[in-house]
């Protein structure tokens, strides 16, 4: 069964139809890149799946759990939160918590979740230590072991984005989403982020990446979707989409990046 299923997803803001019926599936361990020009609806797909926007209609499931099926009846918040943890989202602008240091940014959500555990009172210390160790390991993996006690304002853009990736990884999502993770960075800093994402791909992390980094998308993805004007204009393997695009729109878009 697909770990992520999206069927006929529609969303409009006011009179603008941003998504006009988008469907795709993703298997465990796959990396999907979504490309397309600004305003084509890429980010809105991510926001709908991550429950930041409510779709108008369609169907979304993650890890076999139905996130949305057109039924707008209000789900209880506990259900919603439980599902929320199946997905992780890395924002374009990081959205780190400025008042906490790097380590606390990564541990905060896990600490709050741990408090809801039945055995929290007896094993407080052990649980806390475990969370700290896990966070340190993840931060080590993204190359930030030296920055644990620094505050976000003391970090470069690339370091901030790596913290925000670590923060998302901490909760072990089924699918990790990236919303243009390098768009807010100076060109010389994008490499470090792409390296981290690549290493996650090698560990078979299921990921969906909205990006403008074409050569990166080609190298890291197992599947590529080209969005245009609220619909999937073309989808396939990176070779199919980048090297032999069938649609004229795709050809035009890809050619803009090829020089």
């Amino acid at each position: 069964m697909s770990v992520l299923e999206v069927k006929d997803l529609k969303k409009s803001f006011g009179k603008t139809d941003v998504l006009k019926g988008v469907s795709f599936n993703l298997e465990k361990g796959e990396v999907l890149s979504i490309i397309g020009s600004s305003g084509s609806g890429k980010t809105t797909i991510l926001r709908c799946i991550n429950q930041l926007e409510t779709p108008d209609s369609g169907f979304i499931s993650v890890g076999g759990e139905v996130f949305f099926d057109g039924n707008l009846e209000k789900e209880n918040t506990k259900e919603r939160r439980r599902k929320q943890l199946l997905v992780g989202l890395v924002f374009q602008d990081f959205h780190l918590f400025p008042q906490y240091n790097v380590l606390k940014n990564v541990t905060l959500a896990a600490e709050l979740l741990a408090k809801e555990r039945a055995d929290y009172k007896q094993n407080k210390k052990a649980i806390h230590d475990e969370i700290i160790e896990k966070a340190k390991a993840i931060l080590g993996k993204v190359g930030l072991s030296e920055k644990l006690t620094n505050y976000p304002c003391e970090l470069s853009g690339g370091q901030k984005q790596r913290v925000s990736i670590a923060r998302a990884l901490m909760l072990e999502p089924e699918v990790l989403f990236f919303d243009e993770p390098t768009s807010a960075l100076d060109p010389e800093l994008t490499g470090e982020i792409l390296k981290v994402i690549k290493s996650l791909a090698e560990e078979n992390m299921t990921m969906v990446i909205v990006t403008h980094e074409m050569s990166f998308a080609k190298a890291v993805s197992s599947k590529v979707i080209f969005m245009d004007n609220g619909v999937i204009e073309e989808e396939g393997t990176p070779e199919e989409v980048f090297d032999n695009p069938k649609s004229q729109r795709t050809k035009e878009f890809i050619s803009k990046f090829s020089d």
Binding site: N50, Q51, L52, T77, R81, Q84, L85, V87, G88, L89, F91, D93, H95, L96, F97, P98, Q99, L108, A109, L112, L113, Y151, P152, C153, R167, A168, L171
Partner: protein, 238 residues
């Protein structure tokens, strides 16, 4: 200058100053949390609540605190008296009978009510400004990390709001120090009254001027404390 006069002046001023401090401390104690609750009201999606709170803020901020003090002090007593007269004339309406039991308000209680509501209105607007200035991304980041709305507010947003509102809050709080002198309009013996007594009693004006030193020293202390807090929160930037 004789020793006895100095002692008398100092004792009286200290007396008034204690009342000033009490008004100041109790007002803050009530208005700081009340303002926060009101700010939630004024941002509520439930429109009747939102407009009720905003109407209250408009009325309270738009009219002199002195009038509010007088109304809070005399209002209930006069209402009770009016109801009592009706009852005496044979009115048996339950509400009227209930109203007729309202007696004269305690002066100090009236002062605290009027000040607390007045300052809560100002604080609520400062809180609202602070809360609304926090980028939406902070809430969204909290949500996608599985936090509840309450957790997002207390663990993510609140500290950032505090940092942003320290300067306007210190402004209001220093204004409160001096506004306490308005309590005298309903005959609550505070610092300025204490100083002024000596003009009437002994024909000397320096005790009144001396009260200014109390205010200056007190607001100096507050400026220092707020400076410390600002410095303490300086370790991060939003």
């Amino acid at each position: 200058m004789d020793q006895a006069l100095l002692t008398e002046v100092f004792t009286r001023l200290a007396d008034g100053f204690v009342t000033t401090l009490e008004i100041f401390a109790l007002t803050l104690l009530i208005a700081l949390p009340l303002g926060l609750i009101m700010s939630f009201g004024s941002m509520s999606k439930f429109l009747p609540l939102k407009y009720a709170v905003r109407f209250l803020v408009w009325v309270v901020r738009g009219s002199p605190l002195m009038i509010q003090l007088i109304l809070v002090f005399y209002g209930p007593g006069l209402l009770g008296q009016w109801a009592l007269d009706l009852v005496a004339n044979g009115n048996t309406n339950a509400v009227i009978i209930w109203l007729s039991n309202i007696g004269v308000m305690e002066r100090f209680v009236a002062v605290i009510i009027a000040f607390s509501v007045n300052y809560a209105c100002y604080f609520s607007e400062i809180y609202r400004g602070g809360i609304e200035s926090i980028p939406k991304g902070q809430y969204e980041a909290g949500q996608v990390l599985g936090m509840t709305k309450t957790q997002v507010f207390f663990k993510v947003v609140l500290m950032q709001v505090v940092k942003r509102i320290i300067p306007p809050m210190s402004n209001e709080i220093i204004t409160l120090v001096k506004d306490t002198s308005l309590a005298r309009v309903i005959a609550v013996y505070e610092l300025i009254w204490a100083g002024e007594t000596f003009i009437k009693l002994k024909g000397i004006i320096w005790p009144l001027i001396a009260t200014a030193i109390f205010y200056l020293a007190f607001s100096g202390l507050l400026t220092f404390v707020f400076g410390k807090i600002e410095k303490k929160l300086d370790y991060y930037k939003t």
